[in-house]
Symmetry: C2
Subunit: 564 residues, 2 copies
């Protein structure tokens, strides 16, 4: 007898599961229920409608019920909301939201793919404010129509995660004055505080009014009142604080909700009910590095889970190896990518880790359009196991992070990373790729070849009047340098050893830590014991300091920024 499989939610996970089931079983009776008007739209592309990169919002709809039926023999019931699940009788109660009629539908297997909802807290005055969320095609069309038809000038975005950032950028590209408000002290908490300063700078340089560490306390019609007392006038407000797993149906029928607030599933994405599976943004997963349970609302994992569910229903073995959470985002002219654990997460987890921050070029310096590649590698001490990576730059940073994501998934360490043989030709990269380079620096740290401090430590060093050597050439030093840093170029250091104090710590930097590395090692060989290389060096320091200097009107620790 043919199986009857019902799927709640047609986007991403739901549609993928349906298509896979059809390929496994031509006779299955598959019905997808979607309370909205669309089955399978491109969730991740929604923000790009605002800038007109995706002109017509209908383009965002990837699959129509007709096409789904004709190509896959899958029934899709749009505008059909599932009201409840009767686990005992294996049936669901559905409401056709157009006709208002309710009906029941039995199942052999039920797959929940309801996604997550945008969090909109009950802030005072919100009911009278022009607030929007960006979760589906209807949302984005509504927002875009509102701001265009009302000739909006000032648009604010609350929350600087993926969606908030992408919405802010696309609104700016469309010509609006954009304010981005984030309660934390940084955007994109998938990145560490040091790396993210590069994005803060870019948002600032591109004219986004970025407000960090401040909260919305009240809406006063078109005014957003912040905790600091600041008032931001906004013709429209996009709420992008975060998402919350949609678990209402599951909860009501007694399925187990995990500690993250998402649905608990077993290694085959099955709930405690052996005939009910769940996938996508509604469930929680195991982190493959920390082994902790987490909520990971990403498109790639949703697709993998959908396929795994279909396979499990049909008895095909699937191994659940956990998730590491790779992601990337474009922020105006910059690309940013990350995988695995951040330094902040390692700290919270009590992992003994260290990190290196290097800024090589993304391709051979001689080639036109080569760019800095900011690359941070996080690894366990003393095992050298690679835990995470973050990269930001104008070039192909996603490539470097995908390489590390692959290495992490395969359980690799920094020796493995050093040994990777990657494609090289001048238009693509350098013979020693950024990831090899970072691994070499990490190995030096592990082997105590030299000690390091980080860009985040430098302001304090300057305030304490620490002894800092700038190992760049004189002309570079003169273009801009750390206040009070002593210029001893690497090319002169052997002849000027006597100038270097032996009774206190010596901190060394150059432009991107290559020359300062050589200088640090050299001084070590000559018997100096308290030598620290400044990881990230002058470039890293400039990027790290710039936004806060500007936005907080803070006294710079450099005589002049230099981002070249």
């Amino acid at each position: 007898m043919s199986k009857k499989i019902l799927i709640v939610g047609g986007v991403a996970g739901g549609a993928s599961a349906a298509a896979r089931i059809r390929r496994l079983d031509e006779s299955a009776n598959i019905i997808v229920f979607e309370k909205g008007p669309h089955v399978s739209f491109s969730n991740c592309c929604l923000p790009y409608h605002l800038s007109g990169q995706i002109e017509n919002h209908e383009e965002l709809v990837l699959m129509t019920p007709d096409k789904f039926f004709n190509q896959y023999n899958i029934n899709t019931r749009i505008y059909n909301e599932v009201l409840s699940i009767d686990r005992e009788n294996k049936s669901i109660k559905v409401k056709n939201v157009v006709t208002g009629k309710t009906y029941e539908e039995g199942y052999d297997k039920l797959i929940l793919s309801p996604g997550a909802n945008a969090i909109v807290p009950p802030i005072e005055g919100i009911e009278d404010a022009k607030t929007f969320v960006v979760k589906n095609v209807v949302d984005i069309a509504k927002l875009n129509q509102f701001i265009t038809s009302k000739n909006a000038t000032n648009v604010s975005v609350v929350g600087a995660g993926f969606i908030g950032m992408e919405v802010a950028e696309n609104l700016k590209e469309a010509g609006y004055n954009v304010t981005l408000i984030e309660a934390a002290n940084q955007v994109m908490r998938t990145f560490d505080e040091d790396m993210v300063q590069i994005l803060h700078k870019e948002l600032f340089d591109q004219g986004i009014n970025l407000i960090l560490g401040d909260k919305v306390t009240k809406f006063n019609n078109s005014d957003i009142v912040l905790e600091s007392g600041k008032i931001v006038q906004s013709d429209a407000v996009v709420m992008a604080i975060g998402v919350k797993p949609e678990v209402t149906l599951a909860k009501e029928c007694g399925l187990e909700i995990g500690e993250t607030g998402a649905l608990k599933v077993d290694s085959n994405y099955r709930t405690i009910d052996k005939d009910i599976y769940a996938v996508g943004d509604a469930i929680e997963v195991t982190n493959a590095i920390s082994r902790k349970i987490q909520h990971l609302p990403l498109a790639g994992p949703a697709q993998k889970q959908a396929r795994a569910v279909a396979d499990h229903i049909y008895g095909l073995p699937v191994k659940n190896t956990g998730y590491i959470g790779s992601s990337c985002i474009k922020v105006f002219d910059y690309n940013a990518a990350c995988t695995g654990l951040t330094e902040a997460q390692c700290k919270n987890l009590g992992i003994n880790y260290d990190s290196v921050y290097v800024i090589p070029q993304d391709k051979v310096g001689l080639m036109p359009d080569n760019n800095h590649l900011h690359f941070k590698l996080i690894f366990e001490v003393p095992t050298g196991k690679v835990l995470g990576a973050q990269s930001i730059g104008k070039g192909n940073v996603d490539k470097r992070v995908d390489i590390v994501a692959t290495l992490i998934k395969m359980g690799g360490d920094i020796d493995d990373l050093r040994d990777l043989e990657l494609c090289y030709a001048p238009p693509f990269g350098t013979a020693k790729d950024a990831v090899n380079h970072a691994a070499l620096v990490a190995l030096n740290i592990m082997n105590n070849t030299f000690k390091q401090v980080h860009v985040s430590d430098v302001r304090k060093l300057v305030e304490e009047n620490a002894y800092i050597i700038d190992a760049r050439e004189k002309n570079e030093y003169e273009e801009g340098h750390i206040i009070n840093a002593v210029n001893i170029p690497l090319s002169e250091i052997r002849n000027r050893i006597d100038e270097i104090p032996t009774d206190k710590p010596v901190y060394i930097h150059c432009r991107s830590a290559q020359r300062s590395y050589n200088a640090s090692v050299l001084l070590g060989h000559l018997g100096f014991e308290n030598i620290y290389n400044i990881s990230g060096s002058f470039l890293g320091i400039c990027f790290y300091e710039y936004f806060r200097d500007k936005s907080e009107n803070r006294k710079p620790i450099v005589t002049n920024y230099n981002f070249k």
Copy 2:
């Protein structure tokens, strides 16, 4: 007592070893001997001088003896040729080619990094022809000066490996009529014959006169006479047939030469003489997949070897894991990258392998500037161990190949490849990345979910009047299709089952094999036993056939090409 370390050859390997040694030992006496005028130039960037992308050939010189001395305290003797090695007395005989004076220099350790020479066979008339090679800065400056000062119009390149291809492209960019002559039936033998047709098409479309399967038999002043009788008039000829390891010195002092003609070294890059090491293009290495000895003249491995030698001299442990040989090249608007073994190599090695060829988009189809990504994955049967990958397209193909290179180095299989979690956002890729996608198709092949034939089989199928289903929609079919293919769109196939013969093989394709995959599986479920999906599908077929149709004036097997 401080070590005295002599290094023969200052480019790539030599300079890297010297710098690393200095970091390990401030007291070492390091002398680099280079018979040419330059220590450390950018070998790989040489061709880009011809198009003016690198305007001044002096830019190609990365390091001067002065800078090397000032920054690293390393002595470089340019214009000093090493004539012989006296192993017994641990000294070398050197000739200053400027003064003509010879002298001896003793060593504790000797590192050979002499590189490889361009092969120039003794073809009849070559002495009177205007031939050039591209191995160093002097070569490229000489070539460029000749063709610009003589107002050359027609320039030929013999040999279509990395250097030949890059030189041909850069000459074309500079405005010359370029003929590229290759004795094999394809360019770039690091790629398989099917993939490389995309490059043949691009060379053809960009106006390169590409001559394959033909050999130079004679030079008649400015005429190149080919085996076929063809005559190519050339104002200048670049010989880029290949390179031969420079082993003269090593041979003369009794060091062992391997079966590849390159120098044999142990796992620490040490020759049979415990005080003589060798690195770079002069040595042979072990392939980490096939376990065979091979000559691998690439910049990345040379750097790794240099570092390993320095480490070994100073007692640091280094593991030699072998090499897989990743590489990439830009060919006009296309990028091409490969890693591991090709199908052709697997055949030669007698490895039981299979391959899949998929053509997904390199980023979300809705985003502007998305492109086809041709991706070929080669894997062992029945283990699923990943053996190699090749990718060609206008976008970031190198990323996908680097991911596979990482996976191969870590010993991964197609299950691992399927499970990789890669960065995704619409400007970067797709939620199911090309590599995940290829792994899924490979798993289907391994599990016998469907059978496949390859684009290279299709012409024969057409000639044999095989039954071919085109599963695209009618409008797509009408824009161009395989001669005699029957158009049964996936969306109609369930209603037109009766039309499909059960007494002979049925071959199915669509645009990029996604719909034909679904159709193949469907027909399998319905009891058809002889169903074959055409890997690469219509897009792959068009790319595969185009160049030979045009260049051989061959009758096309499609009514119209379609590359969209």
